[in-house]
Amino acid sequence: DVKVTQSSRYLVKRTGEKVFLECVQDMDHENMFWYRQDPGLGLRLIYFSYDVKMKEKGDIPEGYSVSREKKERFSLILESASTNQTSMYLCASSFQTATASGAFFGQGTRLTVV
């Protein structure tokens, strides 16, 4: 089974803190994604990466950055956390050429910024 693992299920951080969300996949997928999930808005793409050290902005990149130093690991960084970044964050991965397979998701990290 494909496994996408996010380092934390729940996080509480203070405004202004630097926050790291980690994601690891074990299927040698080229693509990795970070989504933000908010009620009524569905999932919105923050950043994605199609290869090591490669990244592209998604629909809502402001206030976030990412790092992909190894193929299996994709980190989302909140440089200075703000209360409007309180949300559910989902990591996903997929093969670059297997469009029909969709993507595989982690269990999500519920981040609360106070």
Binding site: G42, F48, Y50
Partner: protein
């Protein structure tokens, strides 16, 4: 811009009954894939069913089936013989290669199956 719209925020259904979730999308692409994902209360998102846009035959996976109307850009999900374990958020999504295999999601429909 590619968009996906799910017009039903919440639906409830009696156990063993059938429920249909609607989804419409907008794209100028011709070659794409459509998906329905399920997110149970435990939050792990899982793939329920997929449809390739170039196939006219509607996809079916056990109790889950889709009604794909390409011209109308409509992609509804039917859950037959609903079970309590079907209670979840359901997301419609699509993907196309030209966008780097990024999934675009609708806002989701919360389904509650009542005993």
């Amino acid at each position: 811009a590619q968009t996906v719209t799910q017009s039903q925020p919440e639906m409830s259904v009696q156990e063993a009954e059938t429920v249909t979730l609607s989804c419409t999308y907008d794209t100028s692409e011709n070659n794409y894939y459509l998906f329905w994902y399920k997110q149970p209360p435990s939050r792990q998102m899982i793939l329920v069913i997929r449809q390739e846009a170039y196939k006219q035959q509607n996809a079916t996976e056990n109790r889950f089936s889709v009604n794909f109307q390409k011209a109308a850009k409509s992609f509804s999900l039917k859950i037959s013989d609903s079970q309590l374990g079907d209670t979840a958020m359901y997301f419609c999504a699509f993907i196309f290669k030209a966008a780097g295999n990024k999934l675009t999601f609708g806002g989701g429909t919360r389904v509650l199956v009542k005993p």
